[in-house]
């Protein structure tokens, strides 16, 4: 990589390290620790974005070599980073989010003054950013695993930052256990690769799949799929995500949902495309199926939530599902030998990764601002915040429109690309497997529509109508840094949505490296205004055109307004309440009510359970107190993880008998094993 981006990248990493040191040094002075910690993180993030974006844009990334950060004292480990196209792209995501979230955290951390140690919080945040960036840029398996472990540990410590509540501690432990199960699989996978290639360097792993025997290759793929799948939050392994993200402080959950989850996607892409060469067909089919299931289940469970941050966490699972659909399709195309379609599907998947990182972080920041103001995550106690928190409401609305894949924002663009790749995928093979493409396309449509329903609920119940509790009634707008953080991400959402053709150039080095195709010319027509689905068959869409046309059509209603209704006046009156004594906030629609029809329709999946306790004095018709409780069964928890845990406990209870408590017994065990080994050695 030529001079400018490399030095800037090193400067960014240095800024993070300085941020850690600064935050820890000035722990005592909270305001200073906050300023330095997050300030330096913001500077680091900004430099990171500049470095990676310029490297990708100018194509300098193709000429980059790996270089050692610092000499390694430990044998076998080489702390070397190599900012290739894939690493740079994900580095750009983490830096962009790091920049916006740090600015947001300057305001958010004020909530912790006097309560928690802001210095440690800032240092942890910087360390998390540093570790994640290194994960993306690491060029050596062991260095990758070290960075991965630091990331997991810092994330754990930040997730359980507010460890006073029981719920936080449990979520932290669950996150810890699940992420280390994944890391275990990763280590095995890397060992197998090391065994095949002889060295830990990533460059030696390149296209290793072709040399590996088929059985070994499948095992490696499965190990990496599980390992990275846990971190990405695929459906069977997702249970930690909706537990861990809501309890974390909002800027951390934004970073986790936006970026840490993407390390799983980065891993899968690196292994699937870079390491293991041309994949067999069943890999792509598995990833596509898992993606589809994750998408649909993620959004269905999100709909049932009335905890704002759990809702957003489930949506992370849904969007990861959509990204996996893109990757799965790309893998299938690589198998069937269609590099152009493979690059299109890959671009769709990775573009959605970037988009999801941006709008999910934006939504979490919005949720954080709401939490900051109303001190609750329960949507049933919110309401009417749009009039009290104007800017946060606007930013949350933009995020909601983006995540529901509605034109003209970025969610729509990446889902449109996914549709195009799925549609054109139908023609690639003649075997029955091609039916998967349109069916997963239909499931993607179902997901998109359910996501729209979910975010009408999320935005409507939280921000519109009357406040349903006193904290919501006295809510105040978030401080300026928090708004600035959200503003940056909103601008990113709009910009990514309106000018997709500009960003497709960034993907050229990426697809060149992974699939050997450069698609940005084929995907842009009408001198960069319109995005096309590639080739003659692909349809075209221009979000910029749509927005401009919407503005051009504005005179029609305005003209009608002037023509007919110039003298009409507007009167503010109470909402029509059928002549009763007025609508109280309790009469409004709540999150549970809003999702009731869907809970009834998908009864088989949710198995809803509701209890109504009614206490009354003399006659059952005049209840003194009424308690209503409704639960949606966590199917994965009860059907898979609880029986699994029961088996493990039973097995461990049985082996406890070994612990007889007498020294003789233990000595006998040692002696017997010693003898066995000696005999075996004969």
């Amino acid at each position: 990589m030529n001079a400018f981006p490399a030095t800037l990248l090193i400067f960014a990493l240095g800024a993070y390290v300085a941020g850690i040191a600064g935050a820890l040094l000035f722990q005592r002075a909270e305001r200073l620790a906050n300023g330095i910690g997050f300030g330096l993180a913001a500077v680091g993030g900004f430099c990171g974005v500049l470095a990676c974006a310029s490297a990708l844009a100018t194509g300098a990334v193709t000429a980059s070599q790996s270089f050692e950060l610092f000499p390694s004292l430990i044998p076998f480990v080489r702390f070397s980073i190599h900012a290739d196209a894939l690493g740079c792209f994900f580095g750009m995501i983490v830096s962009l989010l790091g920049w916006a979230l740090s600015i947001y955290s300057l305001g958010y951390a004020r909530g912790y003054y006097g309560r928690k140690n802001v210095g440690v919080f800032g240092a942890g945040f910087n360390l998390l950013l540093l570790a994640t960036t290194l994960v993306f840029l690491a060029d050596h398996a062991l260095f990758f695993l070290i960075a991965w472990e630091i990331m997991a540990l810092t994330a754990y410590s930040l997730v359980s930052f507010e460890h006073e509540q029981e719920e936080t501690r449990n979520a932290g432990v669950l996150f810890f256990v699940m992420s280390h199960l994944g890391t275990g699989c990763l280590i095995l996978g890397f060992l197998l690769l090391f065994q095949a290639s002889g060295s830990y360097g990533f460059d030696s792993f390149h296209a290793l799949g072709n040399t590996l025997p088929a059985g070994r290759r499948n095992v490696v793929f499965l190990l990496f799929l599980i390992g990275f799948g846990v971190k990405a939050g695929m459906v069977p392994l997702h249970i930690w995500l909706p537990a861990a993200h809501p309890v974390a402080p909002s800027n951390v959950s934004a970073l986790m949902s936006g970026v840490i989850v993407k390390t799983g996607i980065y891993g899968l892409t690196r292994v699937g495309f870079d390491f293991l060469g041309t994949p067999p067909n069943w890999w792509g089919v598995t990833v596509l199926t898992i993606g589809t299931i994750s998408a649909v289940l993620g959004v269905l469970y999100a709909l049932m939530e009335h905890d704002l941050k759990r809702l957003l966490a489930y949506h992370s699972i849904e969007n990861i599902g959509i990204i996996l659909m893109g990757l799965g399709a790309a893998l299938m195309f690589r198998h069937s030998g269609h590099p152009v379609l493979a690059s299109l599907a890959l671009i769709a998947g990775l573009y959605h990764t970037l988009n999801h990182a941006v709008f999910k972080a934006l939504l979490f920041l919005g949720a954080g601002a709401v939490l900051h103001a109303t001190h609750t995550r329960n949507m049933e106690d919110m309401g009417g915040l749009a009039k009290r928190m104007r800017w946060t409401a606007l930013f949350f609305l933009v995020g909601a429109v983006a995540i529901s894949a509605l034109p003209p924002l970025n969610g729509f663009v990446s889902e449109w690309l996914t549709y195009q790749s799925l549609l054109q995928g139908f023609g690639t093979t003649t075997r029955l497997i091609r039916l998967m493409f349109p069916l997963s396309g239909a499931m993607l449509a179902l997901t998109g529509a359910l996501a729209a329903a979910c975010f009408v609920k999320a935005f409507g119940i939280t921000f519109l109508a009357q406040p349903r509790s006193n904290p919501a009634r006295h809510a105040h707008e978030a401080p300026f840094p928090m708004l600035l953080g959200q503003g940056i991400l909103t601008a990113a959402c709009v910009f990514l949505g309106l000018f997709p053709t500009l960003f497709l150039k960034l993907f050229d080095p990426l697809t060149q490296q992974l699939t050997g195709q450069q698609l940005s010319q084929q995907l842009t027509t009408a001198n960069g205004l319109v995005l096309s689905g590639g080739g003659a068959q692909g349809g075209t869409v221009s979000t910029l055109g749509i927005t401009l046309m919407l503005l051009c059509l504005l005179p029609v209603p305005l003209g009608l307004w002037l023509l007919f209704a110039r003298r009409s006046r507007t009167r503010i009156a109470p909402t029509w309440d059928c002549g009763l004594r007025g609508l109280t906030p309790q009469m409004e629609y709540t999150a549970t009510g809003f999702s009731k029809p869907l809970r009834m329709i998908f009864k088989a999946l949710f198995r809803p359970r509701r209890e109504v306790q009614r206490e009354y004095d003399f006659s059952p018709y005049f209840a003194t107190t009424l308690r209503f409780e409704s639960h949606v069964e966590e199917v994965f928890q009860t059907r898979i993880y609880r029986p699994l845990r029961w088996l493990v406990l039973r097995a461990s209870r049985r082996t406890r008998a070994l612990q007889a408590g007498s020294i003789q017994a233990y000595l006998i065990y040692i002696f017997v094993t010693l003898l066995a080994l000696l005999l075996f050695a004969l």
Partner: protein, 265 residues
């Protein structure tokens, strides 16, 4: 199968809507005497036979003045016709009863033997509601007779929709209220709120004796003696209950859709 039979039956029956107002008005039932005609001149001096017999005290005869029959309070029981020795009160069989002002309903003096029928809305309102009037029906404690007759207008025979008049669910969509019933104390707040919920310009139609003056419940402490006490009423359609033809005639007259209606310039 079902769809086939339904369609054939419907097509065979063809349009069953009456021709009125283009064609002749349907005949009133013989029990329905139509409008009343009061000639105070025929009254014998000092005779107050009709005043005593009227169940809703609609007829008053102050000492040395002419008899006054307030059609708004009259429930058309025709007792006064039988009781009047001089035959001063007669039924004209005319179904048209709608009036714009409350005091137009008082009959008796020289020039006012019969009702002066309602004039259409002024030009501005007629341009607005002429072709499309959406009403919100408020039953303020009524006995459901007027409501039933208003409802009849929606059936296929009368088909109120063909004139562009429609009853809507929400007052926000409505242009006016059609009030029935004596506006009981319990419905007072509801009526007030419904009126406030209708965007201007709005009109109010009081249908039936109760809505005009409290009908048989007039003077009762739990009743506000009609809608006039709460909201400005634009059209009064007397009767207990007024015949659907009378209500329809009132509505069309209000919108100026009847040729013989005197148009105010």
């Amino acid at each position: 199968m079902f769809v086939h039979d339904t369609l054939l039956n419907r097509l065979k029956r063809g349009c069953e809507t009456m021709a009125y107002p283009a064609g002749p008005a349907p005949a009133l039932p013989d029990r329905h005497g139509g409008a009343l005609r009061v000639e105070a001149a025929k009254c014998q001096a000092g005779c107050a036979a009709c005043v005593a017999v009227c169940p809703t005290e609609a007829i008053t005869r102050p000492p040395n003045q002419a008899v006054a029959l307030d059609l708004g309070r009259c429930i058309f029981c025709a007792e006064c016709i039988k009781a009047c020795p001089a035959g001063a009160i007669t039924q004209t069989g005319d179904h048209r009863l709608a009036v714009r002002r409350r005091d137009d309903l008082v009959l008796g003096e020289a020039g006012r033997e019969q009702l002066r029928l309602a004039v259409a809305l002024d030009a501005k309102l007629r341009r607005l509601f002429g072709r499309s009037l959406k009403l919100r029906q408020v039953s303020a404690g009524g006995c459901n007779a007027c409501e039933a007759d208003t409802n009849v207008l929606g059936t296929i025979g009368w088909d109120l929709g063909r004139f562009g008049i429609q009853f809507v669910a929400s007052p926000r969509h409505a242009d006016g209220l059609l009030i029935t019933g004596p506006v009981s104390k319990n419905m007072e707040l509801a009526l007030r709120k419904t009126y406030a919920a209708v965007p201007e310009p709005r009109i109010v139609i009081a249908v039936g004796a109760c809505a005009i003056a409290g009908g048989p419940f007039v003077g009762h402490p739990q009743v506000n003696n009609g809608a006039g006490a709460l909201v400005p009423v634009d059209l009064f359609i007397p009767g207990c209950p007024p015949h659907p033809l009378t209500i329809l005639d009132g509505l069309l007259r209000l919108l100026g859709r009847l040729e013989d209606a005197p148009r105010r310039s």
